[in-house]
Symmetry: C2
Subunit: 509 residues, 2 copies
């Protein structure tokens, strides 16, 4: 008889076995992923304190691993909030442990990236990671740790408490890993450049293995209002979420339950909804049966009068910054930007911002130049599967007089309390219908503006040609007519040409 | 002082929060993913018993959920090995528990898909899943269960033991889920069709919500030799794996350790390797220091004389079947197939098979028609990011006289003890350099054959044109010469034309 054996593996073991899904596919992507994951944690750590991030990244060469890969030491320092000492081992040595499981706009989502970087370092170099952290008070905590992958638990090799004489605040992570920096370099530099572009209040410093210094200095001290943690929006709940809320709620009737656990549900809306769904307001949510919970979920989705999520929990770039960023980067002839109103998918509010630019330094290629951002971080890999790229490819650009071989750049930024990434490596965004729709609407808006620009440009071009014809033949006609009339003095054709120009510039051709 | 709170979440909760990464992105993909995950488990369950799979899938309409989504009941029945009763609850109600964590070619990889389908059903309909299973002996076990997502544990609602009078063997999974079948339909039918194509020994039956029956009957009883579980290949080990092997090994010296824990390491190779790496054969592996383990890993990668993995642990389609499949499906004018020799990435052996076809029923499009398979299952979503597609796009096709707008179809099959999927939803394959290289080499081989075909066809075309010219002018020249010579009878130009044809057909033009 054939035998099948069953076993349970830890979350850490799962990601060790499947590191492709977390972005650690090859030595080049691994080094890119390690840097970005730690930089994003650092940006979040500073912003949660409402101070401008100041991040220092150093990659130094430690030795050859094989013909194509080297061993590097990666050090990332920030001025963020610091990690409480009792949480340091788990925050860096235990997968699925972290501070990112909130309904709040932040760069990290999975509570996974930093640990994956350390795990990858461990399995390629077998050296411990060193973490130092302080909240700026009297002590600095230092841990040397590895990950027990099979148990998904941190292994603490050393722990020190140092006096913090200079009141340093922040976190330093340092570990060794195998990588192929030469191949990863263009993406890494692009990553810093684009990150600086959408985080203009941050200082980023990168020292590469050759000792080259890349410095991206903040150009403003103004930070966007930090996003708040929020409640789930009623349009996006599922049964699991309802059950969790019912389990923890202290409220004993439906209106209070709705008002206190959902985003943008006030007293009036709650009443209206209960009438609409024929649920008694005095019902104790803890007494809802299975069937009633399912019905409540469907009714929440069907009710048309919930307000859309407000943007207070989101921190979009804003049209101004978007425009400045594009102009600075591409110096285009034309640019249009648009911020959509907040929308929601699966209970998570999100805002789409788009920009389109034409001409200037934008290269002519066989496809549009596309920039993708999510919660203020650039997405640089696996573009082809991203929902934005799909929407762009599906659009009828000819309607807008545009074509992929024109010098056109398109930028899409999604910010959300939960970006629907398709991979744990945060490479691209899933094709959620609500997100697709918003991106489409945003793009059509800027595409219309591009169309106006292109139409006007076409007029101007045609006009220029027409004028060219006039100015070529008019002098000859004038000469001829003068001779014909038996006169000697030519008429003032300059005046005439000017009048044609003025007239033609305004008229529809 | 700002506060950051830390928490630990279960693996189940992680995938609940991030179901996009497991392929459950929207109602249409969710229903596709649920079907394919269960069908693939069923195929594996029958093959592990070495019997031809007989799988029955029924999707029935249960009611409207919203304007665009409906509730369906999905039932998948197989004739597989059955799940041991004590494992049923965890095998279907606990994420990261399963029988798939082996070095063996199988369709399932993550031990996740079946549970994700059930979890998705639960959060959209809040109904339990029903599982029945038997190994064909005296009893059938029936469980009704749900998943405690926060704890990642099965919740057993009901359990029955039935007498198995008819000695039925297999597993039945039935549960309700929300979905958009209408939109998913083309992909689902494609999925069955392509699955049948590469599993010609399987019976597949699908009854759709309208009661339409799709039947794919086996065309052969011959099953490929079932792949064996294998040992890791020395070229792909990392420190973690070495440590695990050292932890469990009963062997007390290096040669025995190497021979018994690694694929294709015999006594001679072990000796040679130990000399090469300057490690004492009498060394007890359990006494290796951290540094020595790291060094051992690097040495294993550097040693050139390990044999490539043998194919006994893999079960490729074979060139014959590949060709038959392509010809049956596309009726092309030309087809070439090629199976590469086994290779290895990260310790996992794999084989690449490729096919290329031209003309016939292949449509002309702006891009090549691409079929992707992995371990005998078709991959239908997110094509653009797949390593095969990248390799295809990066190739210089003009060198082979081919272009994307020609009627060309390309098929790539990877079989491996561990397919490097990029997403947990098994949509596409990561860009591992070793895999990329093998695909590239395979494609170049068939592309050369295509080039010969196209060159020959070009000759024939040119020849046909040349003959056309001859046969047009020769009679006139004959007439003219006859008149000029003052003769009456025309020479026999038919004979001449024939000789030109024969000659021209063999000569280089």
């Amino acid at each position: 008889m054939a035998q099948v054996t069953f076993e349970e593996i830890s979350a850490s073991d799962f990601f060790y076995r499947n590191r492709d899904i977390a972005g650690f596919t090859n030595p080049s992507r691994a080094i890119f992923a390690a840097i970005r994951e730690l930089v994003e944690n650092s940006l979040d750590a500073a912003e949660s304190l409402k101070i401008p991030p100041d991040i220092y990244v150093r990659l130094s060469f430690e030795g050859e691993a094989s013909k194509e890969t080297q061993i590097y030491k990666l050090r990332v320092e920030d001025n963020g909030i610091g990690v409480p000492p009792r949480h340091i081992p788990s925050a860096f040595g235990q997968v699925l442990f972290g501070s990112k499981y909130k309904l709040k706009q932040q760069r990290g989502t999975f509570g996974l990236g930093g640990k994956m970087a350390i795990l990858y370092g461990q399995i390629t170099t077998h050296q411990p990671a060193c973490i130092m952290s302080s909240n700026g008070m009297s002590r600095i905590y230092m841990y040397k740790l590895m990950i027990d992958i099979q148990k998904n638990r941190p292994l603490i090799l050393d722990r020190k408490v140092l006096l913090n004489k200079e009141q340093w605040r922040g976190t330093i992570v340092e570990f060794c890993l195998e990588g192929d920096y030469l191949r990863a370099m263009p993406k890494i530099l692009d990553y810093f450049k684009q990150t600086a572009m959408v985080n203009p209040y941050a200082n980023l410093t990168f020292v590469d293995p050759k000792g080259r210094l890349y410095k991206f200095t903040s150009v403003t001290k103004d930070m966007p209002k930090p996003p708040k943690e929020t409640l789930p929006h009623p349009y996006g709940v599922d049964v699991e979420l309802l059950q969790r809320l019912i389990h923890i709620t202290p409220y004993k009737n439906m209106p209070e339950f709705l008002i206190n656990h959902f985003h943008r549900v006030g007293e009036k809306t709650a009443q209206k909804f209960l009438t609409f769904s024929n649920i008694s307001p005095s019902k104790n949510p803890k007494k809802l049966s299975h069937e009633e919970i399912v019905r409540l979920m469907h009714m929440l989705k069907k009710f048309k009068e919930f307000l859309p999520p407000d943007a207070s929990c989101l921190s979009p770039l804003g049209e101004e910054l978007l425009k400045v960023g594009i102009v600075k980067e591409l110096k285009p002839e034309f640019v249009a930007v648009h911020q959509r109103r907040p929308a929601t998918y699966a209970g998570h509010p999100f805002i789409i911002e788009v920009g389109i630019a034409y001409g200037g330094e934008i290269p002519k290629r066989s496809a549009f130049l596309i920039y993708r951002f999510a919660n203020r971080i650039p997405l640089l890999y696996d573009e082809a599967s991203d929902v934005s790229v799909r929407v762009i490819n599906d659009m009828n650009w000819r309607r807008y007089k545009a074509a992929p071989d024109m010098p056109i750049a398109i930028l899409v930024h999604i910010c959300s309390t939960k970006v629907p990434y398709k991979t744990v490596g945060k490479e691209f965004i899933a094709d959620r219908p609500e997100v697709r729709k918003e991106i489409g609407n945003g793009l059509r808006e800027v595409a219309r503006q591009l169309q106006h620009f292109l139409t006007r440009r076409e007029h101007v071009d045609r006009e220029r040609k027409r004028l060219g014809v006039f100015s070529k033949y008019l002098p000859k006609i004038a000469q001829f007519s003068t001779t014909l009339a038996g006169k000697k003095k030519l008429p003032d054709i300059e005046k005439l040409l000017k009048s044609v120009k003025k007239f033609g510039g305004e008229e529809e051709v």
